[in-house]
């Protein structure tokens, strides 16, 4: 009985010590490697509503972009090669346009010939949720919905992207 009480006290002490930084982290940390990618639902350029959590079980590449961002176009085109990877287990690529004008975003999608869904965040609500400060922003989300890689300001280097994909067994 005394042993059980000691065990409970030790475990409670560990719990207290661990819970405080965890709680503090949850309230201050934005989306970064190791955190859960916040769920969202957005309308795509083809009119379908897509929800991130429905891709649990798949590796997802999220690419935030805007029409006024020059380097975004190279990043978006590069992601076509991932979307075209043969095999059923390839990563799912989702582009997220932060343009206020959906028609403008759609015309960029067409002109670049993007072969993956592009979601329209016309109110930038998801951009705020993900704390997007620099574009392009590419995030790699694993099968459990955890962010495993983040690249901002420039297209994600393909070698690095491949390395993280290999790490998570893709």
């Amino acid at each position: 009985m005394a042993l059980m009480r000691t065990l409970a006290l030790v475990a409670a002490a560990i719990a207290g010590a661990l819970a405080y930084p965890l709680a503090a982290r949850a309230s201050t940390t934005a989306v970064s490697d190791g955190t859960t990618a916040p769920d969202f639902v957005l309308k795509s350029t083809d009119g379908h509503n897509l929800r991130l959590s429905e891709y649990r079980g798949d590796v997802v590449v999220l690419a935030f972009w805007a029409s006024w961002c020059g380097s975004c176009k190279a990043a978006l085109s590069e992601l076509n090669t991932i979307a075209d990877t043969p095999g059923s287990g390839r990563p799912v690529v989702l582009g997220i346009s932060l343009d206020g004008d959906a028609a403008r975003a759609s015309s960029i999608v067409q002109s670049l010939g993007l072969r993956y869904p592009t979601l329209l965040d016309t109110r930038q609500a998801i951009g705020r949720l993900y704390d997007v400060e620099k574009l392009p922003l590419t995030l790699l989300v694993d099968r459990d919905g955890i962010v495993r890689g983040t690249w901002a300001s420039a297209p994600a280097p393909r070698a690095e992207l491949n390395r993280v994909l290999e790490e998570i067994g893709q």
């Binding site: 065990l7 409970a8 030790v10 475990a11 409670a12 560990i14 719990a15 207290g16 661990l18 819970a19 965890l22 709680a23 639902v41 957005l42 309308k43 379908h48 509503n49 897509l50 929800r51 429905e54």
Partner: protein, 189 residues
């Protein structure tokens, strides 16, 4: 009373974390204790882990119920549910909900969610608090109507919130006579 809700929720969440870590800590200690004699000890530890998992799930369930009771007491609780009946004449895209002219929910439906509703699922669209008295609920339904035409309709319900919880159902069904969708807002007694 309302100001205490976030604090209570924080405490509950902290309690959940602490409980989970407590269980994890206990499991670790138990695992170490059984390391000397692997075979029977492993089975015992495995049984302990299963029991602890079950206890943890029960605890989480209780905490969820408790959190809901604290955040949404029966005296002020109002819940809005959505269901589909057939839906041949309407393809649901989104629902916007306004309570007393204030937007409280805006939900975009994915294909999978619409399929689940078609299979008889009922979605809890909104859960909140309202004080007793007269209130107005307005729901705007957007989607594709007959012949793939963009379709947007509103439905309104004025109701009296009394002491008990108030449940409202938004139901989309087909009106065969006019080949049009029908949007009904009704209270559950």
């Amino acid at each position: 009373m309302m100001r205490q809700h976030p604090e209570s929720a924080r405490r509950l969440r902290w309690l959940a974390w602490a409980s989970m870590l407590l269980v994890a800590g206990g499991t670790l200690v138990a695992g170490r204790a059984g390391a000397e004699d692997p075979a029977p000890a492993t089975r015992a530890v495995d049984q302990d882990v299963q029991d602890l998992k079950k206890q943890l799930l029960d605890l989480n369930k209780d905490l969820f119920k408790l959190e809901e009771e604290i955040l949404y007491p029966t005296s002020t609780q109002v819940a809005v549910f959505l269901s589909l009946n057939v839906g041949t004449f309407f393809e649901l895209d989104s629902v916007t909900l306004k309570l007393d002219d204030k937007e409280v929910a805006n939900y975009l439906y994915t294909e999978r969610e619409v399929q689940a509703l078609h299979r008889g699922g009922v979605q809890k669209l909104y859960l909140g608090n309202l004080k007793a008295g007269r209130h107005e609920l307005v729901a705007f339904f957007s989607g594709k109507g007959p012949h793939e035409i963009d379709y947007r309709r509103g439905a309104t319900l004025s109701f009296d919130k009394t002491v008990g919880a108030k449940y409202v159902e938004l139901r989309i069904s087909d009106r065969e006579a006019s080949l049009q969708p029908e949007f009904v807002v009704r209270q559950w007694d």
